[in-house]
């Protein structure tokens, strides 16, 4: 097996670079992150590659190019907060945190091994850059609301961004928290849904319909925005314009594909947590070259 998946460019992207250059660097980083993630899932023989890949561009854009964070000082009071509510996508989160410089990428080799800090679902006590212990769906958004309320109490400028799965939105806790955030007008809070259309066993719309999401969140007092969740330029453009409506939290519907962009994984429900064979890893790495 080649180690082609292993190299990872480390470091955040300089915000003063021209947009085109930032987009080019993000494209490279997101590909490297997916390659590294693939190796991690292969060696752990466990993981959630489908949802990792649908989220990869969003997570990379936020952690590498948008958030006001300092990987060498992960506990700074006024850092922006990123809450990864879909904790099963730990592979992409860990690879991106390592790429941002939060910890040594060598840690990634031990993904899910005995005593590794890198559990199948993230643990903030063990991994710098992780803000919330997630895994059971429906925890991140309420925590993000709490972080945003604390920020408002303190008059802080920090932003809180939370990534949720679309299937995850079936958990009632999200809607309880959205009601509270809408009520309080938390406009430094942004929730992004990875709208890949699938949950664990089937499409969301065949399981328990979510649409019309934009109308629902607007009715809860949020501003809604839609974006191509694989387009770094659009993501950067949107995140620079937050909040979309002053005085309201923003709900971003990021249109994505599960398993993107690997041809034999994309939009295939079984890749929610299927583990690729050596042959499939090789083929996927080629597509991600």
């Amino acid at each position: 097996m080649t180690l082609a998946g292993r190299s990872l460019p480390v470091g955040r992207i300089d915000p003063s670079l021209p947009l085109e250059e930032r987009v080019r660097l993000l494209g490279e980083a997101a590909r490297a992150i997916r390659r590294r993630d693939l190796e991690m899932v292969r060696s752990a023989a466990l993981g959630h590659i489908g949802g990792d890949f649908s989220s990869a561009d969003i997570v990379a854009t936020l952690l590498l190019a948008v958030l006001n964070i300092d990987p060498s000082r992960p506990s700074l009071d006024d850092r922006d907060r990123f809450v990864m509510s879909k904790g099963h996508s730990s592979g992409v989160l860990y690879a991106t945190l390592a790429a941002a410089g939060f910890f040594d990428p060598a840690w990634l080799d031990g993904y899910m091994e005995p005593l590794s800090p890198l559990n199948g679902h993230p643990d903030r006590k063990k991994v710098p850059g992780v803000e919330a212990n997630t895994g059971p769906l429906g925890h991140g958004l309420p925590i993000a609301v709490g972080i945003a309320i604390a920020g408002k109490m303190d008059g802080s400028n920090r932003r809180t961004l939370c990534l949720v799965g679309d299937g995850e939105l079936q958990e009632g806790s999200n809607w309880e928290a959205m009601m509270a955030a809408g009520h309080r007008g938390l406009d430094k809070l942004t929730v992004i849904v990875d709208r890949n259309g699938y949950q664990q066993g089937a499409p969301t719309e065949e399981t328990s319909r979510l649409e019309p999401i934009a109308e629902k969140v607007r009715a809860f007092g949020w501003a809604a925005a839609e974006v191509d969740g694989h387009d770094h330029a659009s993501l950067l453009g949107l995140f620079e314009k937050l909040p979309v409506i002053a005085g309201r939290p923003t709900f971003v519907i990021a249109h994505t594909h599960k398993g993107y962009p690997v041809s034999f994984m994309q939009d295939r429900v079984e890749w929610h947590h299927k583990v690729p064979t050596t042959e499939q890893v090789r083929a996927a790495l080629q597509e991600l070259a």
Binding site: P114, L115, G135, G167, Q170, S208
Partner: protein, 316 residues
């Protein structure tokens, strides 16, 4: 002896899935309720055969239990199935109020409990479920040890007048019971006789307890092994007999040491006939690692159980 620890290993979810189809075939009122857990509960075949009798509520465990209570009210016999960690934690108040307090005849099956999801970490370990649930009045709590007991527990649960929780193991286990075994809700089963000490076990730990007893017998220690599949209501008479007749007890379970089978037995022992005890299980949140590795790491092996027996015998 009516037990044999067979050489083959089984995933108890398979016994659960085939029994479910048989029950549905026999009784039109049987419906299955799940929460995006068709694959993880092995319900794919059930879904094909009885597509209109599978209610998938989406990823929503509170609603999962509430809907099951409503289905029971509407004349159905619901069997709920989802990963034990989410089902019991998120749905706890619904289990207490909508099922137990309301006396709704619903069977709740917690899949892949204990540390079956080892590498996925403590969020996915279900090592508190028995403690939470056995504290609830009017709820039977059953932890089967092998495929045969899983099947029989499911059949018995459907006949029981009240809600029942069954923990359905995913971790491969040997078959423990011989052909004539009959599970009875609320009753324990004496697996081996012995007068020096009693090991009380259930679930995936029963086979290991039997192995430990064999090791100990080789060293001249007569070990009674009691299988205690029903944690609530507990078989108090058998616990009392263990205390009075063997004078020392070790419990072992794939669960936290706080409040599970060990806690239940300890409460009974202290109130009836105090004797030295050891409670084996997990001390708290665990590191990541495979299920097999976590059991070794936590001393939940035949050798670990035998060592606890040696220790308790020092205090007899």
């Amino acid at each position: 002896m009516t037990t044999l620890v067979g050489p083959d290993l089984f995933d108890c979810r398979d016994a659960f899935a085939s029994t479910l189809q048989d029950l549905a075939q026999r009784d039109d009122r049987v419906v299955v309720v799940c929460s995006d857990s068709v694959g993880s509960s092995k319900l794919v075949d059930f879904k094909k055969r009885f597509p209109h009798r599978l209610v998938n509520v989406g990823i929503a465990e509170q609603t999962l239990i509430g809907v099951a209570a409503g289905l029971a009210n509407g004349g159905k016999r619901p069997i709920v199935s989802a990963a034990s960690c989410f089902l019991t934690a998120r749905g706890l108040e619904q289990i207490k109020v909508d099922l137990a307090y309301s006396h709704a005849k619903v069977v709740v099956c917690g899949m892949s409990p204990g540390v079956a999801y080892g590498e996925l970490g403590p969020t996915h370990h279900s090592i508190e479920d028995v403690a939470w649930l056995r504290a609830i009045d009017n709820l039977a709590v059953v932890v089967p040890a092998d495929p045969k007991e899983t099947e029989q527990a499911l059949r018995a649960a459907l006949l029981h007048d009240g809600p029942v929780f069954i923990r359905v193991s995913r971790m491969p286990v040997p078959s423990v019971y011989a052909d004539g075994y009959q599970f009875v809700l609320g009753k324990s089963f004496r697996v081996t006789e012995g007068s020096d000490v009693t090991i009380i076990a259930n679930g995936t730990m029963l086979a290991r307890a039997v192995e430990a007893a064999t090791l100990l017998r080789g060293r001249g220690v007569g070990c009674r092994v009691v299988s205690m599949p029903t944690v609530a209501p507990l078989d108090l008479a058998e616990v009392r007999a263990a205390a009075e007749e063997t004078g020392a007890i070790v419990t072992v379970e794939e669960h936290s040491v706080r409040g599970g089978l060990g806690g239940a037995v300890a409460e009974a022992v202290v109130c009836q006939h105090p004797v030295p005890m050891r409670i084996l299980g997990f001390p708290g949140f665990l590191p990541t690692g495979s299920a097999t590795w976590l059991l070794e790491y936590s001393g939940l092996t035949a050798a670990g159980i035998a060592a606890a027996v040696d220790d308790v015998l020092q205090h007899k």
